[in-house]
Subunit: 122 residues, 2 copies
């Protein structure tokens, strides 16, 4: 499906992708994931790489696995909300740090964000 960047481990990129999909309910709470082999086909990567990403997400509590049936998204809604909030805050914090390091004023930064955000809406 997608292509991945070579500057970061693929399994981390897959983790981030699935986290986003969980946080935005593109993967619904309690919903089933494709199998390791299916996802590997879709992502065009080795099944082992998918396996690694998924087991890490499971370790974080976002996924559950039934050994012989498949994998499911957690149905803990508060955890999903917390995930969404966390991804949003981390993105914002990262951006603010970058902007500060570039000595860009608050007004300039807010203006730039507003322009790009408005420009991309339909």
């Amino acid at each position: 499906m997608d292509q991945f960047q070579s500057t970061q481990p693929i399994y981390l990129q897959i983790m981030a992708l699935i986290k986003r999909q969980i946080a935005t309910a593109q993967l619904r709470p309690g919903g089933q994931l494709g199998s390791v082999r299916e996802l590997a086909m879709n992502y065009q990567v080795n099944p082992n790489t998918v396996q690694r990403a998924l087991s890490e997400l499971e370790r974080e509590g976002l996924l559950k696995s039934d050994r012989t049936v498949g994998r499911y998204v957690t149905d803990d809604l508060s955890m999903i909300e917390a995930l969404h909030r966390s991804l949003f805050l981390e993105a914002t914090s990262r951006y603010v740090d970058e902007v500060n390091e570039l000595n860009v004023s608050a007004d300039e930064a807010i203006k730039a964000v507003r322009i790009q955000l408005k420009g991309e809406n339909t």
Copy 2:
């Protein structure tokens, strides 16, 4: 000096760091850099890793090297301005993309940026 993350090649992180310092004139146009061996000491990495970062920056035109004297920041002010603009735009664009993918509204995002930016000023 700093520590580096393990999820991205160190030489790329050093490149990004030096780019920021050039863009904000912490490294002044035409100014001299520390030697490969000095920087390796400061960054706590191998000289080869510094060498790689610096030669890539040179390939991009941001640094110049005198083989037996040392390395200098470019004195092309328009290039430095373009670098600053580019780093700022890329950061903003990256943030806007992330926010869109999280289905966060423009108003929410701008509000979050404003709060964090104001909160961090002295």
